[in-house]
Every structure is written in structure tokens, then in C-alpha cells.
């Protein structure tokens, strides 16, 4: 059985680990990237894009907003659910991210339950099954 895949994009290894643990426990198979550019490279190298990407905002090379914009402009990734997970908490930033195509927005610090609840709202239920 093929597991549902997720990508965690954050320049902090610690934060990638924390988020990877949370989505792994939900049944996702996780790949990681340290910035938006690396994430796009990894997407281009796989036959099927992951269902979900958790994306930091402030990263070197390519930030999270630029990544969201690039993904939304590419029809190959139409099915990806994009969730920003970032310390940027101003209303204007949230609006920009959602307008660019992010589906959800989580502000750091967060609890695992907050991530799980947001994923459930997006129809990505525990154990990787789409609701």
C-alpha cells in the first residue's frame, strides 16, 4: 500500500524534525528540504508530488512565500495542500500567503495538536487517509 507523502520545508533542522515527527505519526511518508529552492528541486525529481507541504516563511535562497507562488504556478502540483508554519504572525503576512495559494497558516510556536487539527480541517485525517 502506498503511503501518503508530505514534504517539510524549513531551514531549521530541529523544526524539520519536530514537524516530520508529527506528520509521520499521522501516517505520512516524509521528505525534508532546507529551503524553497531545494524543495522545488526535490519535487522535480519525483514522479508524483506529495499531498502536503509544511512550509516555513523565512528561509535562505527561496522563502516560503516564493515557494508557494512557484508551486501554485505549476499545474503539476495542483493537488498539493500547502500549509505555512511560520513565526510571521502579522495579519498582512497571513493574507499574502493565503492569497498566494497557501491553504492554511500555523504560527510558531505551535503544539502537535494544533497541526493535527489544521490538517483535519483540510481533510487530511490521521493515519494519512484523506477525509
Amino acid at each position: 500500500m502506498t503511503r501518503v507523502r508530505a514534504m517539510v520545508i524549513d531551514d531549521s533542522r530541529a523544526m524539520r524534525l519536530i514537524l516530520s515527527r508529527i506528520v509521520s505519526q499521522l501516517g505520512f511518508e516524509v521528505t525534508e528540504a532546507g529551503n524553497g529552492r531545494e524543495a522545488l528541486d526535490k519535487l522535480a525529481a519525483v514522479a508524483e508530488a506529495p499531498s502536503l507541504a509544511l512550509i516555513d516563511w523565512n528561509m535562505p535562497e527561496m522563502n516560503g512565500l516564493e515557494f508557494v507562488t512557484a508551486v501554485r504556478a505549476d499545474p503539476r502540483y495542483r493537488g498539493m495542500t500547502l500549509m505555512m508554519v511560520t513565526t510571521e504572525s502579522e495579519q498582512g503576512q497571513i493574507v499574502r500567503a493565503l492569497a498566494a495559494g497557501a491553504h492554511e497558516y500555523v504560527i510558531k510556536p505551535f503544539t502537535p495538536d494544533a497541526i493535527v487539527e489544521k490538517l483535519a480541517l483540510l481533510g487530511l485525517a490521521p493515519n494519512g487517509a484523506a477525509a
Binding site: 530541529a14 523544526m15 523565512n58 511560520t86 513565526t87 510558531k108 510556536p109 503544539t111
Partner: protein, 162 residues
């Protein structure tokens, strides 16, 4: 310098409590406790993010080497003895990023947050042309912790505005 309500020690306390309960002490066993008068300000490991735009300055977290090891171990979910300098740099930098981002939300907009810069084995750090807006000093696992918000008093042209 700008004319606006500044973040306060209470704001820093609230942000720190959220960071500790989310990442450093989710079980509620080792909370960040208030410091006692005369407790030293640590300087072994210092991480900072800079804010530029409508407000300019820095948010700095200072830890002892021991506290920074505990922070890295907690964030990465590894044993204390396994922690490397790279782990400390990553973990303390992310703490500065999270605390700094939340402080930025209290400041005039628009502004931009820098990537974190981390200094390890620092005897001291010096921030020129700043005034301290507020600071939080605490104790975590018997180790002092300090968070400071420093506002720049130099404008873009490098001219002192104070």
C-alpha cells in the same frame, strides 16, 4: 527611534511561556522560572534576529552553554551527551527566530525579520547604537536565560536619531 508602544517584559514572558510549553518543556516539568536579583546574564551562546523597516533593532536570546545543550536536546529529541555545536546553533537560532517573530508582531509594520545569527563560545556580545526596550531574565534547569529587545537609534543613513 520611533514613537510607539514598546514590547514589555510581560510580552516577552508570554512569548517565552508559549515557546517553553510548545518545545522546551511540553510536559511542564522544567518551566522558565523568574530570575533572582543579581542572577548573572549568560553569554556563552547568543542568538539574534534583526528587524528592519518601520522599526529597527534586534531580538537577542542569551544562554549558558549548558542551557543551550538542554535546548538543543529538547528540540531535537536527543540525549544531552549527543548534542553537537551544530545542534546548538540550529536549535538556539530557531528559538531566536520564533521569539523574534512574535516580538515583531508587536512592533510597527511593515517590517522584515532577518535569518538568525548565532554566536557560540562568546565571552560577550556587543550591540552598537542600540537602546534596550525590554528584557526578560529567567532560570531554566538552574541555568540563567536572558531575552532582550534592542532598538537601533541609528537611521538608515547612519545618523543617530536620539
Amino acid at each position: 527611534m520611533t514613537d510607539h508602544p514598546n514590547p514589555t517584559e510581560d510580552d516577552l514572558q508570554m512569548i517565552a511561556e508559549q515557546v517553553w510549553s510548545s518545545f522546551l518543556d511540553p510536559a511542564g516539568i522544567y518551566p522558565l522560572l523568574p530570575a533572582l536579583p543579581g542572577d548573572p546574564v549568560p553569554s556563552d551562546v547568543s542568538a539574534a534576529v534583526s528587524v528592519t523597516g518601520a522599526w529597527q533593532g534586534h531580538v537577542v536570546i542569551n544562554l549558558t552553554e549548558t542551557a543551550s545543550r538542554h535546548a538543543a536536546a529538547a528540540l531535537l529529541g536527543i540525549e544531552l551527551g549527543e548534542v553537537t555545536v551544530a545542534d546548538i546553533t540550529d536549535a538556539v537560532g530557531e528559538l531566536a527566530n520564533i521569539i523574534g517573530g512574535n516580538v515583531k508582531s508587536l512592533l510597527p509594520q511593515p517590517s522584515v525579520l532577518s535569518l538568525p545569527q548565532v554566536v557560540t563560545n562568546a565571552a560577550s556580545t556587543y550591540w552598537p547604537a542600540v537602546v534596550e526596550v525590554c528584557q526578560l531574565t529567567g532560570v531554566w534547569i538552574d541555568e540563567p536565560v536572558n531575552v532582550s529587545v534592542l532598538e537601533s537609534n541609528v537611521d538608515y543613513a547612519g545618523v543617530s536619531s536620539s
